[in-house]
């Protein structure tokens, strides 16, 4: 059980790292949003899956219910995270934050 859990947690941590690096490296707000909103939600779903599997190691009714709860958090993240990303993007566009474009595109 714990080996399978590690198999999920380690890629999750990798994607968390990618998301954080993305926030720091990308040139403007919209591109940062790409890294933050999605790499992070995918990574957290992976880690949550790993924790749920690890928790099933000693199988009782209580631990099964706790694992289902953890999976419910994952489902919640899957609905809530794109919604939040969408809300932030829309308000940025409305307010008028300029997106970073390639130089040859800017002239058009």
């Amino acid at each position: 059980m714990s080996a399978i859990a590690a198999l999920f947690v380690i890629p999750g941590l990798f994607f968390f790292a990618v998301g954080t690096l993305g926030i720091l490296r990308f040139p403007d707000f919209y591109t940062r949003l790409q890294a933050a909103g999605k790499c992070d939600s995918f990574a957290s779903v992976l880690v949550l899956l790993g924790i749920a599997i690890y928790n099933l190691g000693d199988f009782t009714l209580a631990s099964l219910l706790v694992s289902i709860k953890i999976m419910l958090i994952a489902v919640f993240v899957f609905i809530a995270s794109p919604t939040a990303t969408h809300a932030i993007t829309e308000s940025a566009l409305i307010v008028g934050v300029e997106p970073w474009m390639r130089k040859e595109r800017k002239k058009q």
């Binding site: 990618v18 890294a35 706790v66 829309e90």
Partner: protein
């Protein structure tokens, strides 16, 4: 009425998962709470319509999920490659894409929009009637829209009449 009953059953399942205690005190209070929530927000969880089509929607989404997961994993690897690449600015080419969709029902539009946002390199910016505005990170991701995903969503959720 059937909406209220369905909401009550969903709430009861959620309560049992949350609570994990099956003595009389907690179970009776749980049923009371589920009744309260079902009475208060029965028209929030499910939209108007026959209950059969709601169940069909549910299974349609279930059939759509494996494809979505595959797409998410692939797209995440792509974004990871972009982020870790030393000369990142050469790889990205952001643009705003606008296109019309053939999806009719609101739920399928929302599912499609959320799927676009969940697969990295694209974000749904706004949905006006049937016009989507999508922010795309790379040129290839911009060109692939609407593509296969829209067809899958249509197969899962639209009426086949």
């Amino acid at each position: 009425m059937s909406r209220m009953a369905t909401t009550f059953l969903a709430m009861l399942a959620f309560w049992i998962v949350l609570s994990g205690m099956f003595d009389g005190f907690h179970l009776s209070l749980g049923i009371l709470s589920c009744l309260l929530v079902a009475w208060f927000s029965h028209d929030l969880l499910l939209s108007v319509g026959p209950i059969r089509s709601r169940i069909r929607d549910f299974f349609g989404i279930l059939r759509y999920l494996p494809y979505l997961f595959k797409e998410i994993v692939l797209a995440n690897l792509q974004v990871a490659y972009i982020v870790l690449h030393p000369r990142m600015l050469d790889l990205i080419d952001p643009s705003l894409v606008r296109f019309r969709t053939s999806l009719k029902r609101p739920i399928s539009k929302v599912t499609f929009g959320q799927s676009i946002t969940l697969t990295p390199a694209t974000i749904t910016v706004s949905i006006d009637d049937d016009e989507f505005t999508v922010y795309a990170l790379t040129r290839s991701s911009a060109e692939s829209l609407p593509g296969e995903m829209e067809r899958r969503v249509a197969a899962a959720l639209e009426d086949r009449r």
